[in-house]
Symmetry: D2
Subunit: 383 residues, 4 copies
């Protein structure tokens, strides 16, 4: 079953590339985004490095230089291409990278057929989850790339159907009582180290929205001078607004008295009842303050999540990304996966339209710096 999951995942990645021209694979549009070619190689390198090269006897590395090119941030593995240089990879060709994928896929199949045990399944699961994470980045990075093309190229026809979810239920509030609750992952199935260590937290009574904030609610914030009123913003948020002359969410544009947004299908008129996305923590926090409310903590979110639907937008919480009690970084390279980013980042909970199916869960801790907007990130209010 896991091997089937492996192949489904690998195929899903490649399916994302179908609308691309050969030339679309190479450019790096921003330091925090990666070229599709690099991501195709990197997700493959992950399987090769952490499974084949480590456990498969006599495994012959596809191409030694790829370890340098496709290592992301694992200091343990050795030297690597610096992050700001990923856009220079005209070679290897897209074709070669697909050949690399094929080679590793075949070897993984071979290895799995020889070693269908729990340990192998666990390793495979990490690699699959890693690739699923990158699938989300592929979508968001491609969207950013096409947006920055002089002509705001579409990713594919009707691409907006993939992302522009309607959420027009009546707004309601869910109340959670004060008390002790269990937080963190426990049980079977895959999970990351940063969600381990189930532990008790004490929560005060709170209310949380049943629905996401929608575009028209955010337009009301804009129309009320939201981007011009310092008192609504964190100090750093206000500096960010001023320095970058921000007037609306990423991908939005206002002309001829109408709001437009760039989508995977090109520029479209904004649907006011659809769920707000592509805002950063500063915007989420300012919006909540303007409403006289606040963002939930990640603990509140986790406890309340059984009572509402989620998964269309990553939801900014007002929790910093920090270790759970007893969190311990694993030895070796995989220990670099999560723990070393536990500073100056905020937790997002839930999942988005770009998240791979079944990849998320209500204990999942996503995290980004508070200024980033290129993810499908939105708001759920608390009070």
């Amino acid at each position: 079953m896991s091997l089937e999951h492996f192949f489904l995942t690998r195929k899903r990645t490649e399916d994302f590339c179908k609308p691309l021209s050969v030339e679309d694979y190479t450019p790096q549009i921003a330091l925090h985004a990666s070229p599709m070619k690099w991501q195709l190689g990197h997700t493959t390198w992950f399987f090769e490095t952490f499974i084949l090269n480590k456990y498969q006897k006599d495994y012959k590395i596809f191409n030694k230089s790829f370890s340098f090119l496709f290592n992301s941030y694992y200091n343990n593995i050795g030297d690597r291409l610096s992050r700001d240089n990923r856009g220079v990879l005209t070679r290897p060709s897209v074709e070669d990278v697909y050949a690399y994928r094929k080679y590793v896929d075949d070897e993984i199949e071979l290895f799995f057929n020889q070693n269908d045990d729990d340990e192998t399944n666990a390793l495979l699961e990490i690699g699959i989850n890693h690739e699923e994470q990158h699938q989300e980045l592929m979508i968001t990075d491609l969207k950013l790339l096409f947006f920055n093309h002089p002509f705001k190229t579409q990713y594919k026809p009707n691409g907006s159907l993939l992302e522009d979810s309607i959420d027009n239920e009546e707004s309601k509030w869910i109340t959670i009582e004060e008390g002790i609750y269990n937080i963190g992952f426990k049980g079977k199935g895959f999970s990351y180290d940063n969600e381990h260590g189930q532990h008790k937290v004490y929560l005060q009574q709170f209310q949380i929205g049943k629905n996401y904030v929608t575009n028209d609610e955010y337009i009301a914030f804009i129309n009320d001078g939201g981007y011009n009123r310092f008192e609504l913003w964190l100090d750093e948020g206000w500096s960010w607004v001023k320095e970058n002359n921000i007037k609306h969410p990423l991908y939005w544009d206002y002309k001829d008295n109408k709001w437009y947004q760039f989508t995977l299908g090109g520029v479209e008129i904004i649907n006011p009842k659809s769920i707000l996305g592509h805002i950063n923590f500063y915007e989420a926090e300012a919006f909540a303050r303007w409403k006289g409310m606040r963002l939930p903590t990640e603990f509140e979110w986790e406890i309340a999540s059984k009572h509402f639907n989620w998964g269309k937008r990553w939801e900014w919480t007002n929790s910093a990304y920090l270790p759970y009690p007893g969190f311990k970084t694993a030895d070796g390279a995989l220990g670099e996966y999560n723990g070393k980013f536990m500073i100056n980042t905020m937790v997002l909970r839930g999942g988005s339209v770009a998240t791979s199916p079944n990849h998320s869960r209500n204990t999942y801790r996503n995290f980004f710096h508070p200024h980033y907007r290129w993810q499908y990130s939105g708001i759920r209010l608390a009070k």
Copy 2:
């Protein structure tokens, strides 16, 4: 009694200036530090703006332009000198700023004698606490200024006696049991809005050090390659080490096989048994990891603080500076005091040799960006 406290505070500030030449008052040595002249004016402006100008009938402002010059970050009050321009204030003269202080002091006395009620005392108390906070910054900013002078000028003879505290008790561990605890300020006496809203938290069992980490313990970390081992550092911490070529704490220097440090009394040999200071969060966190331990959370620290001595170094906690449940920013300018900095900063607890006497308490929440080192900041370990 409060008026007496007021005059003591005002005098204490001016006593700090006795070792200074007229020219020492003006330069701004770093964006995050302020000139002494500006601080003398700003703390005075605070009393003038939030008490006299608001509540004293027919109060005549000393000099209208000072509101522009000496406003720090209160958008509510109006335009202000930009932070990076505080070093240009050759005018008003030091003498004029002292005249400003005298004028406001006299007016406050007059006002207080007319209105010795609870409300006036409360206002005065905020102003005093504000000035006490700046007293600490005056010391740390002057230290940075003199350190950056080509000749590492001393602040005053024997200045190191003010800061270089010995802490050579035997190391011990305090154990705190799992359970529900109350966190936050409750009761009489002054406190800031950010520590209000006493609330329950659930703590897992933990142990915390009775003593501060000392210089020789940190030297062992350095000697063990602490600054060269990526696996000990948060990702941003490692970038900070590499980009700035960091090899030791701020103010330290190594020559002829000995460690030296710059103190308020000039450069001196480091006392190995003295308490480590002037490190940032990245260094504190890396040291703890190297020890196989961790930093306490601010909640752990607060609960454990009755069981140990504190007050010589601000102690980095592994808690991000975020609002307590029910935290509400006050209306108007004083609402800008604390809340708007609740992002990308970490909480420090305790107090330091530079903290004004009686200014701190065990619910006090100090906060700085994780890269700053110019405060007297140190480490207490937990596990």
Copy 3:
């Protein structure tokens, strides 16, 4: 005859692309370099804009958006893609750009056959010369691109044969007598506005080298501490050396006691007798000072040029790029070709192995900022 020249030029450009993969056409490796795709489009746009669109009745523009994409720096023509954004052009595809070239070539042929008069020939000549200039940039920009690839990819096998010219004649000096000389272009054939206005200059007697400076002469400069001795450098040159930690020419590398250089054919051992290249003005000037000599002025070079061979390396002169007496910027867009760069640039004379055949002449004034090294630029000494 000119139409034949046109087609030869167009073909020569495309021949340069034969060793490229589709993906090599897109990245912009530095702000001062342009992607091959952009250059293919831009040289075509030049013919379309300044000939077809202006003079061909009912000419139908190939694609309106291309005017935005492929305008380089002609403010007169209107808005354009900002220079730092040329690397984002994954669309149009390489195929589309070739189709654009074909379309314009066909239209030019048609136009020329209808209008084979002097004016048309003159227009064509400008476009051809413009494309020839870009041919040189294509070579130098591709070299920089491949050099910056993690594996220093070769442009093509034996590529070094294209550039690594041997110049091992015995060194000799040519003496030119004091007197009045004529400078500037006069006569038939193509020339640029910046070389027009033949005029008299008075030259003092001087001597100039018959040969270029060779690699081994420059190695002697390095070995004598050339990059460590401030007294040999202009103040800005010395800052450039220190800030960039320069120790040798661009493309050079020293390992295992041998000097290597990156060439169009990959990394090769340096031939000591070959002509030095890829140095900037600062290096040329420092080398000359180290020799106790100097660089010639552009006037000295022009007068002496009948007495030596040139054309393998652009030769830095000690003349700033400034207008000749009576220089007048032409009206309209073509007036932006040369004149507006007459500040902070130095004149190079001659030509290089990358210069298109017959493109240069001894009155030709090439110019670059003094810090650039990616052209085939070398030294001829004077005294």
Copy 4:
């Protein structure tokens, strides 16, 4: 006589300081400007280093550390305070710097009385000329400092009388015939190495303005959209205008339909008939182009200078600052005086209201980067 000149010069420098408060001496307002305290020390250090320390037997240096503090750019002399750190010198005190001046003055007097020979006079003359150059910088740097103070402090009452020269003669043109002319200094009296080497140049016939360009002529340029028309500007000039959002000369301001300028006496209404100042090369060049004229070369200026009055504004020429034929950098530290700046700078000729009396001459070559505006720099047109 020279000793008298020495004392007059030294006194003139100190007279400039009379309007200053102690605190005005320290700040460095821009990287290209220096604090008055530093300039007082540096001009003194020059005499101490190049005369007393070199030639006076048993000379006792006033304070060893001053050599580090007050060396400007002489690599030959050794380590020095980095240029961006001159604003940190709260110590030595202003008083100490005056004591340093007194000490060196006394020693120079002693030395001169012992050695009143030609060589000593020559050395003294260099030092005097050096200090005269700094006197001009003192004025321009103080003006910049006071301009940047939040309240645009005046240097002294009626300070504008020092600078705001009227030049309302009728505009006339002087014609110089084509031919060979001698350029460069020859004869007795002081001069710098960069003007030595008198040599012949061939000039085409040209006309040059008898008068400076006045404020109202420049206002006409502004009103005609001068700062919005790319076609009037050099490419770098246009970038400078756009990036810095330039709309008028430095120190100018437009409000309530009137033009104001900051002067040494504070902000005043602009006198339209007074001479334009504080513009950079880009502005001078654009203005000339707008007029359909051009800037003179430095050679044209030198030859024509006998026919007009000059000395109120430095006049931008269209000549780059480059060596005269036979120019040779002197050995040792004084060789760093001029030659090493011969790149990316343009020559200004004449002198200004801030130039020390008798300091200039018609062969004097001043030079600055083309973007600087803080000098009293203006325009004389040629055609």
